[in-house]
Protein backbone atom coordinates (compact mmCIF):
# COMPACT_ATOMS: atom_id res chain seq x y z
CA UNK A 1 0.00 0.00 0.00
CA UNK A 2 2.52 2.51 -1.16
CA UNK A 3 1.42 6.13 -1.25
CA UNK A 4 2.39 7.13 -4.73
CA UNK A 5 1.77 9.56 -7.57
CA UNK A 6 2.19 8.00 -10.98
CA UNK A 7 2.39 9.56 -14.41
CA UNK A 8 1.73 7.11 -17.24
CA UNK A 9 3.37 8.02 -20.55
CA UNK A 10 1.76 6.46 -23.60
CA UNK A 11 3.44 6.04 -26.93
CA UNK A 12 1.17 7.49 -29.61
CA UNK A 13 3.56 7.51 -32.51
CA UNK A 14 2.78 6.19 -35.98
CA UNK A 15 4.29 2.86 -34.98
CA UNK A 16 1.20 2.26 -32.84
CA UNK A 17 -0.89 1.47 -35.88
CA UNK A 18 0.92 -1.85 -36.10
CA UNK A 19 -1.23 -4.90 -35.47
CA UNK A 20 1.34 -7.28 -33.99
CA UNK A 21 -0.30 -6.77 -30.62
CA UNK A 22 -3.99 -7.52 -30.94
CA UNK A 23 -5.93 -5.53 -32.15
CA UNK A 24 -3.47 -2.68 -32.58
CA UNK A 25 -0.54 -1.62 -30.45
CA UNK A 26 -2.46 1.45 -29.40
CA UNK A 27 -5.44 -0.56 -28.19
CA UNK A 28 -3.26 -3.01 -26.34
CA UNK A 29 -1.57 -0.08 -24.70
CA UNK A 30 -4.90 1.37 -23.67
CA UNK A 31 -5.87 -1.90 -21.97
CA UNK A 32 -2.55 -2.03 -20.22
CA UNK A 33 -2.90 1.56 -19.02
CA UNK A 34 -6.36 0.73 -17.75
CA UNK A 35 -4.97 -2.21 -15.78
CA UNK A 36 -2.13 -0.27 -14.25
CA UNK A 37 -4.37 2.65 -13.42
CA UNK A 38 -6.91 0.53 -11.59
CA UNK A 39 -4.23 -1.32 -9.72
CA UNK A 40 -2.54 1.84 -8.53
CA UNK A 41 -5.75 3.47 -7.44
CA UNK A 42 -7.01 0.36 -5.68
CA UNK A 43 -3.83 -0.39 -3.77
CA UNK A 44 -4.15 2.91 -1.96
CA UNK A 45 -7.20 5.19 -2.23
CA UNK A 46 -5.06 8.28 -1.93
CA UNK A 47 -2.89 7.50 -4.93
CA UNK A 48 -2.83 9.82 -7.93
CA UNK A 49 -2.43 8.97 -11.57
CA UNK A 50 -1.77 11.24 -14.53
CA UNK A 51 -1.52 10.72 -18.28
CA UNK A 52 0.84 12.09 -20.91
CA UNK A 53 1.52 11.39 -24.57
CA UNK A 54 5.05 10.97 -25.83
CA UNK A 55 4.67 11.86 -29.50
CA UNK A 56 3.35 15.41 -29.30
CA UNK A 57 4.24 15.77 -25.68
CA UNK A 58 1.10 16.89 -24.04
CA UNK A 59 -0.37 16.30 -20.63
CA UNK A 60 -3.78 14.71 -21.20
CA UNK A 61 -4.73 14.34 -17.57
CA UNK A 62 -3.11 15.89 -14.55
CA UNK A 63 -2.68 13.92 -11.33
CA UNK A 64 -6.10 12.75 -10.23
CA UNK A 65 -7.75 9.94 -8.27
CA UNK A 66 -10.54 9.56 -10.78
CA UNK A 67 -10.15 6.61 -13.13
CA UNK A 68 -12.89 7.94 -15.38
CA UNK A 69 -10.98 11.07 -16.23
CA UNK A 70 -7.92 9.09 -17.22
CA UNK A 71 -9.92 6.74 -19.38
CA UNK A 72 -11.81 9.45 -21.24
CA UNK A 73 -8.64 11.28 -22.16
CA UNK A 74 -6.97 7.96 -22.99
CA UNK A 75 -9.56 7.24 -25.63
CA UNK A 76 -8.85 10.50 -27.39
CA UNK A 77 -5.30 9.41 -28.15
CA UNK A 78 -4.54 8.91 -31.84
CA UNK A 79 -1.29 7.91 -33.54
CA UNK A 80 0.64 10.97 -34.58
CA UNK A 81 4.31 11.63 -35.23
CA UNK A 82 7.34 10.25 -33.48
CA UNK A 83 8.06 9.99 -29.82
CA UNK A 84 10.38 12.18 -27.90
CA UNK A 85 11.19 10.07 -24.89
CA UNK A 86 13.37 12.42 -22.91
CA UNK A 87 11.10 15.43 -23.27
CA UNK A 88 8.21 13.31 -22.17
CA UNK A 89 10.07 12.07 -19.12
CA UNK A 90 11.13 15.59 -18.23
CA UNK A 91 7.60 16.90 -18.47
CA UNK A 92 6.33 13.98 -16.39
CA UNK A 93 8.92 14.85 -13.78
CA UNK A 94 7.78 18.50 -13.79
CA UNK A 95 4.21 17.43 -13.32
CA UNK A 96 5.19 15.16 -10.44
CA UNK A 97 7.10 17.96 -8.79
CA UNK A 98 3.82 19.82 -8.48
CA UNK A 99 1.87 17.02 -6.89
CA UNK A 100 -0.36 17.99 -4.05
CA UNK A 101 1.11 15.93 -1.26
CA UNK A 102 4.85 15.76 -0.81
CA UNK A 103 4.38 12.43 0.99
CA UNK A 104 3.62 10.73 -2.27
CA UNK A 105 6.45 8.84 -3.90
CA UNK A 106 7.07 9.76 -7.52
CA UNK A 107 6.81 7.20 -10.27
CA UNK A 108 6.79 7.38 -14.06
CA UNK A 109 5.47 4.47 -16.14
CA UNK A 110 6.59 4.67 -19.74
CA UNK A 111 5.35 2.63 -22.68
CA UNK A 112 7.97 2.48 -25.42
CA UNK A 113 6.82 0.98 -28.70
CA UNK A 114 8.90 2.79 -31.29
CA UNK A 115 12.62 3.33 -31.81
CA UNK A 116 14.14 5.80 -29.40
CA UNK A 117 16.40 8.08 -31.36
CA UNK A 118 18.13 9.69 -28.47
CA UNK A 119 21.71 10.23 -27.62
CA UNK A 120 23.00 7.86 -24.98
CA UNK A 121 24.64 10.65 -23.02
CA UNK A 122 21.40 12.57 -22.84
CA UNK A 123 19.61 9.49 -21.60
CA UNK A 124 22.14 8.96 -18.85
CA UNK A 125 21.93 12.61 -17.84
CA UNK A 126 18.19 12.39 -17.47
CA UNK A 127 18.51 9.13 -15.58
CA UNK A 128 20.94 10.66 -13.14
CA UNK A 129 18.67 13.61 -12.56
CA UNK A 130 15.71 11.34 -11.87
CA UNK A 131 17.78 9.31 -9.48
CA UNK A 132 18.76 12.43 -7.60
CA UNK A 133 15.12 13.48 -7.29
CA UNK A 134 14.13 9.98 -6.17
CA UNK A 135 11.82 9.29 -9.04
CA UNK A 136 11.16 5.65 -9.87
CA UNK A 137 10.60 4.69 -13.45
CA UNK A 138 8.96 1.61 -14.94
CA UNK A 139 9.50 1.01 -18.62
CA UNK A 140 7.41 -1.33 -20.72
CA UNK A 141 9.36 -2.21 -23.80
CA UNK A 142 7.14 -3.59 -26.54
CA UNK A 143 7.00 -3.36 -30.32
CA UNK A 144 10.53 -2.45 -31.31
CA UNK A 145 12.07 -4.38 -28.48
CA UNK A 146 15.43 -5.19 -30.05
CA UNK A 147 16.37 -1.66 -30.96
CA UNK A 148 15.57 -0.18 -27.62
CA UNK A 149 16.59 -2.94 -25.28
CA UNK A 150 20.13 -1.81 -24.50
CA UNK A 151 19.27 1.86 -24.18
CA UNK A 152 16.34 1.26 -21.87
CA UNK A 153 18.29 -1.21 -19.80
CA UNK A 154 20.94 1.39 -19.30
CA UNK A 155 18.37 3.96 -18.30
CA UNK A 156 16.81 1.71 -15.71
CA UNK A 157 20.10 0.54 -14.28
CA UNK A 158 21.38 4.09 -13.83
CA UNK A 159 18.22 5.07 -12.02
CA UNK A 160 18.33 2.03 -9.84
CA UNK A 161 21.90 2.64 -8.88
CA UNK A 162 23.69 0.09 -6.80
CA UNK A 163 21.13 -0.97 -4.26
CA UNK A 164 17.87 0.42 -5.49
CA UNK A 165 15.19 -1.76 -6.98
CA UNK A 166 12.37 0.72 -7.40
CA UNK A 167 12.64 0.87 -11.17
CA UNK A 168 11.84 -1.96 -13.55
CA UNK A 169 12.12 -2.78 -17.20
CA UNK A 170 9.56 -5.16 -18.67
CA UNK A 171 10.00 -6.46 -22.17
CA UNK A 172 6.88 -7.86 -23.75
CA UNK A 173 7.17 -9.88 -26.96
CA UNK A 174 4.40 -9.67 -29.55
CA UNK A 175 1.38 -11.47 -28.20
CA UNK A 176 -2.30 -10.72 -27.70
CA UNK A 177 -1.82 -10.22 -24.00
CA UNK A 178 0.06 -7.03 -23.23
CA UNK A 179 -2.14 -6.24 -20.26
CA UNK A 180 -1.92 -9.79 -18.90
CA UNK A 181 1.84 -9.85 -19.22
CA UNK A 182 1.94 -6.77 -17.05
CA UNK A 183 -0.15 -8.35 -14.34
CA UNK A 184 2.56 -10.86 -13.56
CA UNK A 185 5.33 -8.34 -13.89
CA UNK A 186 7.04 -6.45 -11.10
CA UNK A 187 5.22 -3.31 -12.18
CA UNK A 188 1.93 -4.53 -10.85
CA UNK A 189 3.33 -6.98 -8.36
CA UNK A 190 5.12 -4.37 -6.34
CA UNK A 191 8.49 -4.81 -4.78
CA UNK A 192 7.58 -7.27 -2.09
CA UNK A 193 5.47 -9.46 -4.29
CA UNK A 194 2.21 -8.36 -2.77
CA UNK A 195 0.43 -7.79 -6.02
CA UNK A 196 -2.93 -8.03 -7.62
CA UNK A 197 -5.42 -10.26 -5.82
CA UNK A 198 -5.71 -13.82 -7.05
CA UNK A 199 -8.89 -13.55 -9.06
CA UNK A 200 -7.99 -10.29 -10.68
CA UNK A 201 -6.54 -11.66 -13.89
CA UNK A 202 -9.32 -14.13 -14.54
CA UNK A 203 -11.88 -11.41 -14.21
CA UNK A 204 -14.40 -13.83 -12.77
CA UNK A 205 -13.61 -15.00 -9.27
CA UNK A 206 -13.46 -11.92 -7.14
CA UNK A 207 -13.03 -11.98 -3.40
CA UNK A 208 -16.36 -12.11 -1.60
CA UNK A 209 -18.16 -12.38 -4.95
CA UNK A 210 -18.26 -8.62 -5.20
CA UNK A 211 -16.52 -6.87 -8.04
CA UNK A 212 -14.16 -4.31 -6.55
CA UNK A 213 -14.49 -2.31 -9.74
CA UNK A 214 -18.19 -1.90 -9.44
CA UNK A 215 -18.52 -1.42 -5.73
CA UNK A 216 -15.20 -0.69 -4.06
CA UNK A 217 -16.76 0.52 -0.86
CA UNK A 218 -18.73 -2.64 -0.31
CA UNK A 219 -15.69 -4.77 -1.05
CA UNK A 220 -13.66 -2.77 1.41
CA UNK A 221 -16.36 -2.99 4.07
CA UNK A 222 -16.59 -6.77 3.63
CA UNK A 223 -12.85 -7.13 3.89
CA UNK A 224 -12.75 -5.07 7.07
CA UNK A 225 -15.58 -7.01 8.67
CA UNK A 226 -13.89 -10.33 7.85
CA UNK A 227 -10.72 -9.14 9.55
CA UNK A 228 -12.61 -8.04 12.63
CA UNK A 229 -14.53 -11.28 12.80
CA UNK A 230 -11.32 -13.28 12.58
CA UNK A 231 -9.82 -11.27 15.39
CA UNK A 232 -12.87 -11.70 17.56
CA UNK A 233 -12.88 -15.43 16.98
CA UNK A 234 -9.27 -15.68 17.99
CA UNK A 235 -10.01 -13.85 21.20
CA UNK A 236 -12.96 -16.12 21.88
CA UNK A 237 -10.85 -19.21 21.37
CA UNK A 238 -8.19 -17.85 23.67
CA UNK A 239 -10.76 -17.19 26.37
CA UNK A 240 -12.27 -20.62 25.87
CA UNK A 241 -8.95 -22.29 26.40
CA UNK A 242 -8.49 -20.41 29.65
CA UNK A 243 -11.83 -21.50 30.99
CA UNK A 244 -12.02 -24.95 29.49
CA UNK A 245 -10.21 -26.47 32.43
CA UNK A 246 -13.07 -25.55 34.79
CA UNK A 247 -16.25 -27.40 33.98
CA UNK A 248 -17.34 -29.51 31.07
CA UNK A 249 -20.63 -27.61 31.18
CA UNK A 250 -18.97 -24.67 29.60
CA UNK A 251 -18.30 -26.82 26.61
CA UNK A 252 -21.83 -26.10 25.46
CA UNK A 253 -21.75 -22.35 25.25
CA UNK A 254 -18.31 -21.28 23.98
CA UNK A 255 -17.87 -23.99 21.33
CA UNK A 256 -20.95 -22.56 19.72
CA UNK A 257 -18.74 -19.70 18.69
CA UNK A 258 -15.95 -21.46 16.74
CA UNK A 259 -18.04 -24.17 15.18
CA UNK A 260 -20.70 -22.01 13.61
CA UNK A 261 -19.98 -20.88 10.04
CA UNK A 262 -18.06 -17.69 9.68
CA UNK A 263 -20.25 -14.92 8.19
CA UNK A 264 -23.36 -15.59 10.21
CA UNK A 265 -21.39 -15.89 13.45
CA UNK A 266 -22.08 -12.35 14.69
CA UNK A 267 -25.73 -13.10 14.25
CA UNK A 268 -25.94 -16.51 15.91
CA UNK A 269 -23.55 -15.74 18.72
CA UNK A 270 -25.36 -13.02 20.51
CA UNK A 271 -28.84 -13.56 19.19
CA UNK A 272 -30.87 -14.79 16.25
CA UNK A 273 -30.90 -12.84 13.06
CA UNK A 274 -33.92 -10.72 12.49
CA UNK A 275 -36.60 -13.09 13.78
CA UNK A 276 -36.87 -15.11 16.99
CA UNK A 277 -33.98 -16.50 18.98
CA UNK A 278 -32.18 -19.45 17.45
CA UNK A 279 -31.70 -22.78 19.11
CA UNK A 280 -28.23 -21.76 20.21
CA UNK A 281 -29.46 -18.72 21.99
CA UNK A 282 -32.25 -20.60 23.67
CA UNK A 283 -29.77 -23.16 24.91
CA UNK A 284 -27.56 -20.42 26.24
CA UNK A 285 -30.43 -18.65 27.87
CA UNK A 286 -31.55 -21.85 29.52
CA UNK A 287 -28.03 -22.47 30.74
CA UNK A 288 -27.74 -18.92 31.96
CA UNK A 289 -30.90 -19.18 33.96
CA UNK A 290 -29.95 -22.49 35.40
CA UNK A 291 -26.65 -21.04 36.41
CA UNK A 292 -28.22 -18.01 37.95
CA UNK A 293 -30.71 -20.21 39.77
CA UNK A 294 -27.83 -22.30 41.13
CA UNK A 295 -25.59 -19.41 42.15
CA UNK A 296 -22.41 -20.15 44.05
CA UNK A 297 -19.27 -21.20 42.17
CA UNK A 298 -17.41 -18.55 40.24
CA UNK A 299 -17.04 -20.86 37.27
CA UNK A 300 -20.77 -20.71 36.78
CA UNK A 301 -20.66 -16.96 36.54
CA UNK A 302 -18.47 -17.22 33.49
CA UNK A 303 -20.86 -19.03 31.11
CA UNK A 304 -23.58 -16.45 31.67
CA UNK A 305 -20.90 -13.83 31.29
CA UNK A 306 -19.76 -15.19 27.96
CA UNK A 307 -23.17 -15.10 26.26
CA UNK A 308 -23.74 -11.62 27.63
CA UNK A 309 -20.30 -10.34 26.64
CA UNK A 310 -20.56 -11.85 23.19
CA UNK A 311 -23.89 -10.10 22.91
CA UNK A 312 -22.23 -6.88 23.97
CA UNK A 313 -19.36 -7.47 21.56
CA UNK A 314 -21.70 -7.93 18.66
CA UNK A 315 -23.59 -4.85 19.74
CA UNK A 316 -20.43 -2.82 19.43
CA UNK A 317 -19.34 -4.45 16.16
CA UNK A 318 -18.71 -2.11 13.25
CA UNK A 319 -21.73 -1.58 11.10
CA UNK A 320 -21.49 -3.94 8.16
CA UNK A 321 -24.23 -4.93 5.82
CA UNK A 322 -24.27 -8.48 7.18
CA UNK A 323 -24.41 -7.60 10.84
CA UNK A 324 -27.24 -5.11 10.57
CA UNK A 325 -29.65 -7.38 12.37
CA UNK A 326 -27.19 -8.42 15.06
CA UNK A 327 -27.09 -5.24 17.15
CA UNK A 328 -30.85 -5.22 17.37
CA UNK A 329 -31.16 -8.83 18.45
CA UNK A 330 -28.18 -8.68 20.77
CA UNK A 331 -29.65 -5.65 22.46
CA UNK A 332 -32.85 -7.56 22.86
CA UNK A 333 -31.09 -10.59 24.31
CA UNK A 334 -29.21 -8.27 26.63
CA UNK A 335 -32.52 -6.83 27.72
CA UNK A 336 -33.94 -10.30 28.18
CA UNK A 337 -31.14 -11.36 30.47
CA UNK A 338 -31.77 -8.35 32.64
CA UNK A 339 -35.38 -9.36 32.96
CA UNK A 340 -34.39 -12.83 33.89
CA UNK A 341 -32.53 -11.71 36.93
CA UNK A 342 -35.57 -9.78 38.03
CA UNK A 343 -37.87 -12.78 37.69
CA UNK A 344 -37.87 -15.43 40.32
CA UNK A 345 -36.27 -18.72 39.64
CA UNK A 346 -39.53 -20.47 38.99
CA UNK A 347 -40.68 -17.86 36.57
CA UNK A 348 -37.44 -18.11 34.72
CA UNK A 349 -37.75 -21.83 34.36
CA UNK A 350 -41.32 -21.56 33.18
CA UNK A 351 -40.32 -18.93 30.67
CA UNK A 352 -37.48 -21.07 29.39
CA UNK A 353 -39.77 -23.99 28.85
CA UNK A 354 -42.22 -21.79 27.08
CA UNK A 355 -39.65 -20.45 24.68
CA UNK A 356 -38.22 -23.83 23.92
CA UNK A 357 -41.69 -25.21 23.25
CA UNK A 358 -42.70 -22.26 21.07
CA UNK A 359 -39.99 -22.22 18.50
CA UNK A 360 -39.18 -25.84 18.63
CA UNK A 361 -40.52 -27.31 15.37
CA UNK A 362 -39.87 -30.90 14.39
CA UNK A 363 -36.72 -30.85 12.28
CA UNK A 364 -34.42 -33.50 11.05
CA UNK A 365 -31.65 -32.59 13.45
CA UNK A 366 -31.53 -34.60 16.58
CA UNK A 367 -30.37 -31.48 18.34
CA UNK A 368 -33.80 -29.91 18.50
CA UNK A 369 -35.51 -32.97 19.84
CA UNK A 370 -32.87 -33.19 22.48
CA UNK A 371 -33.12 -29.58 23.48
CA UNK A 372 -36.87 -29.39 24.11
CA UNK A 373 -37.01 -32.19 26.59
CA UNK A 374 -33.57 -31.32 27.83
CA UNK A 375 -34.55 -27.93 29.15
CA UNK A 376 -37.32 -29.10 31.43
CA UNK A 377 -35.32 -32.17 32.33
CA UNK A 378 -32.40 -30.06 33.35
CA UNK A 379 -34.53 -27.72 35.41
CA UNK A 380 -36.08 -30.59 37.35
CA UNK A 381 -32.81 -31.91 38.71
CA UNK A 382 -31.84 -28.32 39.45
CA UNK A 383 -34.94 -27.84 41.47
CA UNK A 384 -34.36 -30.96 43.50
CA UNK A 385 -30.67 -30.65 44.06
CA UNK A 386 -28.91 -27.38 43.66
CA UNK A 387 -25.54 -28.39 42.43
CA UNK A 388 -26.18 -31.88 41.23
CA UNK A 389 -24.10 -31.80 38.09
CA UNK A 390 -23.63 -35.53 38.10
CA UNK A 391 -27.26 -36.26 37.37
CA UNK A 392 -27.42 -33.76 34.58
CA UNK A 393 -24.28 -35.22 33.17
CA UNK A 394 -25.89 -38.63 33.23
CA UNK A 395 -28.75 -37.39 31.10
CA UNK A 396 -27.99 -39.03 27.77
CA UNK A 397 -29.92 -36.57 25.66
CA UNK A 398 -28.03 -33.69 27.12
CA UNK A 399 -24.80 -35.57 26.73
CA UNK A 400 -25.49 -36.14 23.09
CA UNK A 401 -26.14 -32.50 22.50
CA UNK A 402 -22.90 -31.63 24.24
CA UNK A 403 -21.04 -34.17 22.19
CA UNK A 404 -22.49 -32.79 19.00
CA UNK A 405 -21.26 -29.36 19.94
CA UNK A 406 -17.77 -30.51 20.75
CA UNK A 407 -15.52 -30.27 17.74
CA UNK A 408 -13.92 -33.45 16.57
CA UNK A 409 -16.51 -35.74 18.13
CA UNK A 410 -18.89 -37.50 15.83
CA UNK A 411 -22.07 -38.37 17.68
CA UNK A 412 -22.97 -40.78 14.92
CA UNK A 413 -19.89 -42.88 15.58
CA UNK A 414 -20.47 -46.34 16.87
CA UNK A 415 -18.65 -45.98 20.17
CA UNK A 416 -20.51 -42.86 21.16
CA UNK A 417 -23.85 -44.37 20.21
CA UNK A 418 -23.23 -47.39 22.32
CA UNK A 419 -22.18 -45.35 25.31
CA UNK A 420 -25.20 -43.13 25.03
CA UNK A 421 -27.43 -46.14 24.45
CA UNK A 422 -26.26 -47.84 27.60
CA UNK A 423 -26.87 -44.70 29.60
CA UNK A 424 -30.36 -44.40 28.16
CA UNK A 425 -31.19 -47.97 29.10
CA UNK A 426 -30.08 -47.36 32.66
CA UNK A 427 -32.05 -44.16 32.84
CA UNK A 428 -35.16 -45.88 31.52
CA UNK A 429 -34.78 -48.61 34.04
CA UNK A 430 -34.53 -46.05 36.82
CA UNK A 431 -37.53 -44.18 35.53
CA UNK A 432 -39.64 -47.32 35.39
CA UNK A 433 -38.64 -48.13 38.92
CA UNK A 434 -39.56 -44.63 40.06
CA UNK A 435 -42.96 -44.72 38.40
CA UNK A 436 -43.72 -48.08 39.89
CA UNK A 437 -42.82 -46.74 43.30
CA UNK A 438 -45.05 -43.70 42.81
CA UNK A 439 -47.93 -45.84 41.72
CA UNK A 440 -47.54 -47.87 44.73
Amino acid sequence: MVLESTIICVDNSEYMRNGDYVPTRLQAQQDAVNTICRFKLRSNPENNVGLLTLANTEVLATLTTDVGKILTSLHKVAPNGNINLLTGIRIAHLALKHRQSKNHKMRIVVFVGSPVEQDEKEVIKVAKRLKKEKVNIDIINFGETDDNQSLLEQLVSVINGREGSGSHLVTVPPSPHLADALLSSPIVQGEDGAGAPAGFASGGGFEFGVDPNEDPELALALRVSMEEQRQRQQEEERRVQVESGETPMEGAAPPAAPTTPKPPVPMTEGGGGGGGPTEEEMLQQALAMSMEGGGGATTEAKPPATPVTTAAATATAAATAAAAGAPQSSARSGGLSMDFSAMTEEEQIAYAMQISMQDCQPKDEAMDVDKAPKAPKKEQPKKEEEQDFSEVMADPAFLESVLQNLPGVDPQSQAVKEAVGSLTQDKDKDKNNKEDKDKK
Partner: protein
Protein backbone atom coordinates in the same frame (compact mmCIF):
# COMPACT_ATOMS: atom_id res chain seq x y z
CA UNK B 1 5.77 45.24 -33.09
CA UNK B 2 5.64 41.82 -34.40
CA UNK B 3 7.28 38.68 -33.30
CA UNK B 4 7.58 35.91 -35.75
CA UNK B 5 8.12 32.24 -34.99
CA UNK B 6 8.59 29.70 -37.66
CA UNK B 7 7.54 26.17 -37.12
CA UNK B 8 8.51 23.97 -39.96
CA UNK B 9 6.54 20.79 -40.33
CA UNK B 10 7.20 18.07 -42.78
CA UNK B 11 5.19 18.71 -45.87
CA UNK B 12 4.92 21.27 -48.53
CA UNK B 13 3.54 24.07 -46.40
CA UNK B 14 5.20 25.91 -43.63
CA UNK B 15 3.09 27.48 -40.97
CA UNK B 16 4.14 30.39 -38.98
CA UNK B 17 2.34 31.83 -36.08
CA UNK B 18 3.05 35.27 -35.01
CA UNK B 19 1.62 37.55 -32.50
CA UNK B 20 0.25 40.87 -33.60
CA UNK B 21 0.56 43.63 -31.13
CA UNK B 22 -2.76 45.08 -30.17
CA UNK B 23 -3.37 48.43 -28.70
CA UNK B 24 -4.36 48.17 -25.07
CA UNK B 25 -6.41 50.74 -23.31
CA UNK B 26 -6.81 51.18 -19.63
CA UNK B 27 -10.11 52.38 -18.35
CA UNK B 28 -9.03 55.78 -17.05
CA UNK B 29 -5.88 56.59 -18.95
CA UNK B 30 -6.16 56.57 -22.70
CA UNK B 31 -2.95 56.41 -24.59
CA UNK B 32 -2.44 55.17 -28.04
CA UNK B 33 0.90 53.56 -28.70
CA UNK B 34 2.28 54.79 -31.98
CA UNK B 35 3.38 51.43 -33.27
CA UNK B 36 -0.11 50.09 -33.73
CA UNK B 37 -0.62 48.70 -37.16
CA UNK B 38 -4.24 49.52 -37.52
CA UNK B 39 -4.53 48.09 -41.00
CA UNK B 40 -3.76 44.52 -40.09
CA UNK B 41 -5.41 44.52 -36.71
CA UNK B 42 -8.76 45.54 -38.05
CA UNK B 43 -9.12 42.29 -39.86
CA UNK B 44 -8.70 40.39 -36.62
CA UNK B 45 -11.61 39.58 -34.38
CA UNK B 46 -9.89 41.62 -31.67
CA UNK B 47 -8.38 45.04 -32.23
CA UNK B 48 -8.65 46.67 -28.82
CA UNK B 49 -8.12 45.19 -25.39
CA UNK B 50 -9.29 47.02 -22.29
CA UNK B 51 -7.62 45.84 -19.10
CA UNK B 52 -9.28 46.62 -15.77
CA UNK B 53 -7.14 47.64 -12.76
CA UNK B 54 -8.19 44.56 -10.80
CA UNK B 55 -6.37 42.38 -13.28
CA UNK B 56 -3.16 44.35 -12.91
CA UNK B 57 -3.38 44.09 -9.15
CA UNK B 58 -4.01 40.34 -9.25
CA UNK B 59 -1.12 39.71 -11.56
CA UNK B 60 1.32 41.75 -9.54
CA UNK B 61 0.12 40.00 -6.40
CA UNK B 62 0.61 36.62 -8.04
CA UNK B 63 4.10 37.50 -9.11
CA UNK B 64 5.03 38.90 -5.70
CA UNK B 65 3.67 35.85 -3.94
CA UNK B 66 5.75 33.55 -6.10
CA UNK B 67 8.92 35.59 -5.74
CA UNK B 68 8.53 35.48 -1.95
CA UNK B 69 9.07 31.73 -2.01
CA UNK B 70 12.05 32.15 -4.23
CA UNK B 71 10.56 31.70 -7.67
CA UNK B 72 11.77 34.52 -9.88
CA UNK B 73 10.60 32.98 -13.10
CA UNK B 74 7.56 34.19 -14.95
CA UNK B 75 4.08 33.40 -13.73
CA UNK B 76 1.17 32.41 -15.92
CA UNK B 77 -2.56 32.79 -15.48
CA UNK B 78 -5.89 33.02 -17.23
CA UNK B 79 -7.84 36.13 -18.20
CA UNK B 80 -11.58 36.40 -17.85
CA UNK B 81 -13.75 38.95 -19.54
CA UNK B 82 -16.37 39.69 -22.13
CA UNK B 83 -16.84 41.42 -25.47
CA UNK B 84 -17.83 45.01 -25.06
CA UNK B 85 -18.53 45.59 -28.71
CA UNK B 86 -17.27 44.25 -31.97
CA UNK B 87 -13.50 44.06 -31.81
CA UNK B 88 -13.19 45.47 -28.29
CA UNK B 89 -12.33 43.01 -25.55
CA UNK B 90 -12.96 43.78 -21.91
CA UNK B 91 -10.65 41.97 -19.54
CA UNK B 92 -12.25 42.28 -16.13
CA UNK B 93 -10.85 39.48 -14.01
CA UNK B 94 -8.06 36.96 -13.85
CA UNK B 95 -6.74 34.07 -11.83
CA UNK B 96 -3.37 32.40 -11.41
CA UNK B 97 -2.38 29.02 -12.82
CA UNK B 98 0.17 26.39 -11.87
CA UNK B 99 3.00 26.75 -14.32
CA UNK B 100 6.51 25.41 -14.47
CA UNK B 101 9.11 25.20 -17.18
CA UNK B 102 12.59 23.91 -17.63
CA UNK B 103 15.17 26.69 -17.82
CA UNK B 104 17.39 24.93 -20.28
CA UNK B 105 14.96 23.06 -22.47
CA UNK B 106 12.32 25.44 -23.67
CA UNK B 107 10.03 22.78 -24.95
CA UNK B 108 9.58 21.31 -21.46
CA UNK B 109 6.77 23.14 -19.70
CA UNK B 110 3.78 22.18 -17.58
CA UNK B 111 0.55 24.09 -17.06
CA UNK B 112 -2.08 22.33 -14.93
CA UNK B 113 -5.12 22.69 -17.18
CA UNK B 114 -7.29 20.60 -14.90
CA UNK B 115 -6.84 23.14 -12.15
CA UNK B 116 -7.60 26.00 -14.52
CA UNK B 117 -10.77 24.31 -15.69
CA UNK B 118 -12.02 23.67 -12.18
CA UNK B 119 -11.31 27.21 -11.14
CA UNK B 120 -13.13 28.57 -14.14
CA UNK B 121 -16.20 26.55 -13.25
CA UNK B 122 -16.15 28.07 -9.79
CA UNK B 123 -15.81 31.59 -11.17
CA UNK B 124 -18.67 30.92 -13.54
CA UNK B 125 -20.94 30.25 -10.60
CA UNK B 126 -20.53 33.75 -9.23
CA UNK B 127 -20.47 35.58 -12.52
CA UNK B 128 -21.78 33.74 -15.55
CA UNK B 129 -20.96 36.55 -17.92
CA UNK B 130 -17.20 36.34 -17.44
CA UNK B 131 -15.69 33.94 -19.90
CA UNK B 132 -12.14 32.85 -20.56
CA UNK B 133 -10.75 35.30 -23.13
CA UNK B 134 -7.05 34.61 -22.98
CA UNK B 135 -4.09 34.32 -20.72
CA UNK B 136 -1.28 36.36 -19.28
CA UNK B 137 2.27 36.00 -18.18
CA UNK B 138 4.75 38.37 -16.61
CA UNK B 139 7.31 38.04 -19.38
CA UNK B 140 8.84 40.44 -19.63
CA UNK B 141 9.24 39.29 -23.19
CA UNK B 142 7.66 36.80 -25.50
CA UNK B 143 9.00 33.26 -25.12
CA UNK B 144 9.58 30.38 -27.46
CA UNK B 145 6.88 28.18 -25.98
CA UNK B 146 4.22 30.91 -25.80
CA UNK B 147 2.63 29.61 -28.96
CA UNK B 148 2.34 26.13 -27.53
CA UNK B 149 0.82 27.48 -24.33
CA UNK B 150 -1.53 29.59 -26.40
CA UNK B 151 -2.70 26.45 -28.16
CA UNK B 152 -3.60 24.96 -24.83
CA UNK B 153 -5.65 28.02 -23.83
CA UNK B 154 -7.29 28.02 -27.25
CA UNK B 155 -9.03 24.82 -26.20
CA UNK B 156 -11.15 26.92 -23.88
CA UNK B 157 -11.42 30.10 -25.94
CA UNK B 158 -11.11 30.24 -29.70
CA UNK B 159 -9.84 33.83 -29.90
CA UNK B 160 -7.30 33.66 -27.15
CA UNK B 161 -5.41 36.85 -26.37
CA UNK B 162 -2.03 36.91 -24.66
CA UNK B 163 -1.34 39.88 -22.43
CA UNK B 164 2.18 40.33 -21.13
CA UNK B 165 2.03 42.26 -17.90
CA UNK B 166 5.31 43.55 -16.65
CA UNK B 167 5.28 43.18 -12.88
CA UNK B 168 8.34 45.28 -12.27
CA UNK B 169 7.40 48.83 -11.44
CA UNK B 170 8.00 51.24 -14.18
CA UNK B 171 6.25 54.59 -14.37
CA UNK B 172 6.85 55.06 -18.03
CA UNK B 173 4.19 53.85 -20.37
CA UNK B 174 1.82 50.97 -19.99
CA UNK B 175 2.85 47.80 -18.28
CA UNK B 176 0.72 45.72 -20.63
CA UNK B 177 1.18 44.39 -24.11
CA UNK B 178 -1.47 42.34 -25.84
CA UNK B 179 -0.84 39.78 -28.52
CA UNK B 180 -3.05 37.73 -30.77
CA UNK B 181 -1.87 34.66 -32.63
CA UNK B 182 -2.29 34.55 -36.38
CA UNK B 183 -1.88 31.52 -38.51
CA UNK B 184 -0.01 32.12 -41.66
CA UNK B 185 0.42 29.67 -44.47
CA UNK B 186 3.25 30.11 -46.88
CA UNK B 187 5.12 27.78 -49.11
Amino acid sequence: QQSCFDRRLRGSFTFSYYFIYLSTWRQQIETRPSQTQTTSTETLPVNKVVVHPLVLLSVVDHFTRMSKIGNTKRVVGVLLGSWRSKGVLDVSNSYAGLFDEDDKDKSVWYLDHDYLENKYHMFKKVNAREKIVGWYHTGPKLNQNDIAINDLVRRYCSNSVLVIIDAHASNIGLPTEAYYSVEEVHD
